[in-house]
C-alpha cells in the first residue's frame, strides 16, 4: 500500500527533479565524510589483520593486496557502509518525516491536495538509490588505498607487491555484484526508514523511537538481503 502510493504522481515532473537533486546532495555529499573515514580504516585494518594471520612462508606477501581487494569490494564496502548509511541517512529520513508528521506538516501537504507520500518519500528513495552506489565505489577505492597506506607505512608489504596483488585474478563480476547489492540496500534503508517516519504517531518521544527502529530494522534487512543475494547470485 505504502509503496504503491509512491508512484501516484500529481505534481509536475520538474518539481520532482528539483526535489531529487536536493535530496541527492543532502544524502550523497552529507555522507562523504563518514564514508571516507570508515572505508579508509576498513581497508587499513583488513590489510594489517591479513598480514598478521599470514604466517606461512609459502604464501607470498602480495596476497595481502588480493585479499584486501576481494574482501572490501565484495563484502565490506557495500555492506559495512550500508550499516553506516542506515545510521546516518536512515535515521535522518525517519526523524525528519516523523517530525513532519507530529507537527502536522504532512497533514498540511495533504490538505493542499498534494500526495504527501510521493512528494516526500519518492525523492528520498530515488536519491538514496542513486547516491549510495557512488558512495560504495568511493568506499572501494578508499579502502584499497587504506590497505595500501597501512601496508606500506608499516613495511608489511612493498608498493609493487601490493599493486601486483590487487591486480591479480581480478573478476569484474565482483563489482557488478557489489553494485546490485548497493542498489538493493539503498532501497531497503530508505523505504524502511521512510515508512517508520511517515507513520509516526504521538510526540517527540515517538520520533526518537521511530528513528531507532528504522535503523535496527534497516540493519536486519541489510544482513538478510546480503545473505539472500549471496545465495542467489554467487
Amino acid at each position: 500500500m505504502f509503496l504503491g502510493s509512491l508512484f501516484v504522481n500529481r505534481e509536475s515532473f520538474r518539481t520532482y527533479v528539483k526535489l531529487i537533486i536536493d535530496e541527492s546532495i543532502l544524502v550523497g555529499v552529507g555522507s562523504i565524510f563518514i564514508v571516507v573515514i570508515v572505508s579508509t580504516f576498513m581497508g587499513a585494518v583488513t590489510a594489517v589483520q591479513t598480514a598478521y594471520n599470514l604466517v606461512s612462508p609459502l604464501i607470498q606477501d602480495y596476497i595481502i593486496g588480493t585479499l584486501v581487494r576481494d574482501m572490501t569490494v565484495q563484502e565490506l564496502a557495500p555492506t559495512v557502509i550500508a550499516i553506516v548509511f542506515a545510521g546516518k541517512v536512515g535515521s535522518s529520513i525517519s526523524s525528519g518525516l516523523g517530525t513532519m508528521r507530529i507537527t502536522e506538516q504532512i497533514d498540511a501537504l495533504e490538505v493542499m491536495g498534494i500526495n504527501s507520500v510521493s512528494y516526500l518519500v519518492l525523492p528520498k528513495v530515488i536519491a538514496a538509490v542513486l547516491m549510495y552506489p557512488l558512495l560504495v565505489i568511493l568506499a572501494m577505492f578508499l579502502s584499497i588505498y587504506g590497505g595500501y597506506l597501512a601496508g606500506t607505512l608499516t613495511n608489511i608489504i612493498t608498493e609493487q607487491e601490493y599493486i601486483y596483488g590487487i591486480r591479480l585474478d581480478f573478476n569484474p563480476f565482483t563489482i557488478k555484484f557489489a553494485m546490485i547489492k548497493s542498489v538493493v540496500f539503498a532501497f531497503l534503508i530508505s523505504s524502511i526508514s521512510a515508512y517508520k517516519g511517515f507513520f509516526t504517531k504521538g510526540g517527540a518521544l515517538e520520533v526518537g523511537i521511530a528513528s531507532t527502529s528504522a535503523v535496527t530494522n534497516s540493519c536486519i534487512a541489510i544482513l538478510l538481503a546480503d545473505y539472500l543475494l549471496a545465495q542467489l547470485l554467487l
Binding site: T99, V111, G113
Partner: protein
C-alpha cells in the same frame, strides 16, 4: 457552502464526535466553539478529510467529499486553505518559501507575481521583514500569522482556521479575526473557524456552533448567544468576569 451530516467518530471505542450535523454558509464567518478536548479539531479534520469519519457525509457545495474518488478529492482540496492549530509550517523552508509553497504547486504564476502575492499576504497579517527567517526563528504568534498567510495566499474557496488567535495579544487577535472576516466577505468564501475565545465569538460570530464533549449543544449567531438556555453554553460564555459583568448590567 459546506454541509455536514451525522458525523460520528470514535477513537479506540471512545466516541469523540456524536452525530454532528450543520451548515456552514459561504460569505459569513462560521465558528465552532467549545471547551478544550471536546472534539473541535477532530471535527475540522473530519471535514477536510484528514481523519475519516466513522459515519456521516461532508458536502462541499453539493459535492460529496466523503465518498469522492481521488481526483475529486484532490480537486476539492486544491480549493482549501487551512491553518493548523500548531501552525504546521514546513521547518525546512523559510517564511517566504512557506507562503509561496501553495503557489508553486498549484499555480503557474511567475516568480515576481508570486513574490508580490506573498508580500501582500504578509502585510495583511501584519508582518514585515520576516521573509528570510526560518520558522524556528520566529515567535509562536508570528508562526500563526505566517500560517494564516499561507492559508489565504492561493485565494482558496474554503478557509479553515484552527484557533487562529490563540497565543496572540488581544490587539493582534482582533486584527486576525477581522482579517478572516474581511477575506470571507470580500471573496464570498466558506470559512470555518475553531476557537474557544469569547472575544472572537462576539467579534465575528455570525454563525456559532457550540460543542460539548462531542455533542453539538447549540447553534445560532453571537447576537443571541447570551440568551441561550443550555447550561454548558452558559458556563462556557460566562466563565470570565467581564462577560458576567456584561450580563448583570
Amino acid at each position: 457552502m459546506i454541509e455536514i451530516e451525522h458525523i460520528k467518530k470514535s477513537f479506540d471505542g471512545k466516541e469523540v464526535l456524536h452525530d454532528i450535523s450543520g451548515r456552514f454558509e459561504a460569505g459569513r464567518t462560521n465558528l465552532i466553539i467549545g471547551a478544550s478536548g471536546t472534539g473541535k479539531t477532530v471535527l475540522l479534520k473530519c471535514i477536510v478529510g484528514l481523519i475519516a469519519p466513522d459515519e456521516g457525509n461532508v458536502f462541499y457545495d453539493g459535492r460529496d467529499f466523503t465518498h469522492a474518488d481521488r481526483d475529486l478529492k484532490t480537486e476539492i482540496r486544491r480549493e482549501i486553505g487551512m491553518l493548523f492549530q500548531g501552525g504546521a509550517l514546513f521547518d525546512s523552508k523559510n517564511v517566504q518559501e512557506n507562503i509561496m509553497f501553495p503557489l508553486n504547486i498549484l499555480t503557474d504564476m511567475t516568480v515576481d507575481e508570486k513574490l508580490d502575492r506573498v508580500n501582500f499576504c504578509l502585510q495583511r497579517v501584519g508582518l514585515e521583514n520576516v521573509n528570510q527567517k526560518m520558522p524556528s526563528e520566529i515567535s509562536g504568534g508570528m508562526k500563526k500569522r505566517v500560517g494564516i498567510a499561507r492559508a489565504i495566499v492561493n485565494n482558496s474557496q474554503y478557509l479553515f482556521c484552527d484557533e487562529p488567535n490563540s497565543g496572540l495579544d488581544p490587539q493582534t487577535a482582533i486584527l486576525i479575526d477581522n482579517l478572516i472576516q474581511e477575506i470571507t466577505k470580500e471573496y464570498g468564501i466558506t470559512t470555518i473557524v475553531v476557537t474557544h475565545d469569547m472575544n472572537s465569538v462576539m467579534e465575528i460570530g455570525e454563525y456559532v456552533m457550540f460543542m460539548h464533549q462531542g455533542y453539538k449543544v447549540w447553534e445560532g449567531s453571537s447576537e443571541n448567544i447570551s440568551q441561550a438556555e443550555a447550561k454548558e453554553l452558559q458556563d462556557f460564555i460566562f466563565a470570565n468576569k467581564l462577560m458576567r459583568m456584561m450580563k448583570s448590567s
